[in-house]
């Protein structure tokens, strides 16, 4: 059945209508993936042949960068300059990288292959093989629809799994285009399947389905907890890339010009709709007032605009719910006693007649780490600035959060950089930079930011399982 139209946050107009999968459609997708895995050629395919298909996917993505970037921007409002320079090409890089990884999955032989504890005298050989898990459901978010699909689908396929992709109902367009690319690349039938529709029905059915072996999820911590609970009955493997409330620590001994630009990128990149957002700026008290002054001046030049304009650096929030949530948290900040230093209200670009979910970059100062704007993931362009006096206090404040996804350190003191990086309870630490990512690098969270890693060779642990084979040689 056709569902409600998808809406662009640019001007709230209808984009198109996307299929709403029903229970029967999900059953069909699961059956197709199951048969493709249990009976099809993909899991046992020569690794070079599997790599070749993944490389072909990467090449097709590269041939369609403009269209993919356009779809991404239209669907969720990120500036076209960024979706074209970051999201689309990095998606291709991810498929290229995991094409290589398909040939790198290795087992091993073990020293205990002639056990002395066995009742029979044996001369044994033991080796391990790495095998795919089976059928993987990739449930992906609205903030980086392309990228965070590729980080799941590419390694899953590289390991020989079959995939069902369920994109966020808010942003299905690039996923549909990727499915076309999968088809064109020559994946065998059933190896990749796309179902669109509401998470509350389609997502839950996937999570609970006994024929699915693994759920790879990126999204909020609340939804992640629900998925873990629902998938427990069928003992699914899960990887969870969840929320964050990351601290970006700026010491007085930092290169403050550089720190200022990276601080902007840490919180206002992707309109703050990024799980690693450096939404808590921990600022050494001796530079607090001057740096806040400079940062507010820098942020005040960031004017929300039509993200299809290549000069735009800051687009609309992804939808009405995001807009409402950001507005509510600004109110919470005021109620809790923080000082609104910048923004804190909607913005209406002249050319859009008051339409679209545009919100000004927002900065709160005179805040504490106990306020709601410092505890909760807002997932929007709202920065909370908190002063500190000592390195130990900065570390304590940074770690005083339920989350542990990422953190930033700005200092020119090498020892301090390493010392603080080691002390932070976060899956990624950036030193004198922020929001650097690469397909070769593991990414994931500590604490309530989830478990499992995406990126790098480490992710293959999440899409394979070890088989231990014993042979009696006596």
């Amino acid at each position: 059945m056709a569902g409600p139209p998808t809406i662009t946050p640019i001007d709230e107009s209808e984009i198109t209508t996307v299929a709403q999968a029903t229970e029967s459609d999900v059953e069909s997708a699961v059956a197709a993936a199951r048969i493709a895995f249990d009976e099809g050629p993909w899991p046992g395919l020569n690794v070079h042949a599997r790599a070749k298909v993944l490389r072909r996917i990467a090449e097709l993505v590269e041939q369609n960068l403009d269209e993919l970037a356009y779809l991404e921007t239209l669907d969720m409002g990120k500036p076209i300059a960024m979706s074209r320079a970051i999201d689309a090409p990095m998606t291709a890089q991810i498929f290229h990288y995991y094409a290589g990884m398909a040939t790198q999955l290795e087992g091993s032989t073990r020293g205990g292959s002639s056990p002395t504890t066995h009742p029979f005298p044996v001369a044994g050989l033991n080796y391990t093989e790495r095998e795919p898990l089976g059928v993987v459901a990739a449930i992906t978010p609205f903030n980086f629809p392309l990228l965070l699909s590729a980080t799941k689908i590419a390694p899953a396929l590289a390991a020989g799994n079959c995939v069902i992709h369920k994109p966020a109902s808010l942003t299905p367009l690039s996923a549909i285009r990727i499915a076309q690319i999968m088809e064109e690349a020559g994946l065998p039938n059933g190896v990749f399947n796309l179902i669109t529709g509401p998470g509350g029905r389609v997502g839950n059915q996937l999570v609970e389905h006994p024929a699915i072996n693994k759920i790879a999820f990126t999204g909020s911590t609340a939804v992640g907890k629900g998925i873990i609970a629902r998938s427990a009955e069928t003992l699914k493997k899960t990887t969870m890339e969840l929320g964050g409330k990351s601290a970006n620590i700026i010491f007085a001994d930092a290169d403050l010009d550089t720190a200022l630009e990276h601080a902007w990128f840490s919180i206002f990149y992707n309109k703050g709709e990024i799980c690693t957002a450096g939404s808590r700026m921990l600022l050494e008290r001796s530079i607090h007032d001057e740096f806040v002054e400079r940062f507010a001046a820098r942020a005040s030049t960031t004017i929300p605009g039509n993200p299809l304009d290549p000069t735009t650096t800051f687009g609309p929030l992804a939808d009405a719910n995001q807009f409402k949530k950001v507005s509510e948290y600004v109110q919470y900040g005021l109620e809790d006693g923080a000082r609104l230093r910048l923004g804190g209200k909607p913005f209406h670009p002249d050319s859009l007649n008051g339409k679209g979910y545009y919100y000004l970059p927002t900065i709160f100062t005179e805040a504490t780490n106990q306020m709601r704007i410092a505890r909760d993931e807002i997932f929007g362009p709202v920065l909370t600035v908190i002063p500190f006096d000592t390195e130990d206090e900065a570390i304590r404040l940074a770690n005083d959060t339920d989350y542990g996804l990422a953190s930033g350190i700005h200092t020119l003191n090498l020892k301090r950089a390493h010392r603080v990086a080691r002390a932070l309870r976060a899956g990624t630490v950036w030193v004198n930079t922020y929001n650097m990512f690469d397909a070769t690098t593991p990414f994931g969270g500590y604490k309530s930011s989830g478990f499992g890693r995406e990126g790098g060779p480490e992710v293959m642990e999440n899409y394979t399982q070890y088989k231990s084979v014993w042979i009696d040689l006596s």
């Binding site: 984009i15 198109t16 299929a19 403009d66 074209r84 999204g219 997932f379």
Partner: protein
């Protein structure tokens, strides 16, 4: 039906963005190597999935 995928926006100014309408209607699912319409009976009881 409104379909901005096949009618690029008039105010689009991105010089590099030259969208081509997808060859397949977005109102389809991709299952078992084929594009198909969703079967009837679904509801839109969404919850926020980022």
């Amino acid at each position: 039906m409104v379909n901005q995928l096949s009618t690029p926006r008039a105010d689009e100014t991105a010089p590099k963005a030259t969208p081509q309408p997808p060859a397949v209607e977005p109102g389809l699912l991709y299952i078992d190597g084929a594009w198909r319409e969703a079967s009837d009976g679904g509801t839109a009881d969404d919850y926020p999935d980022r």
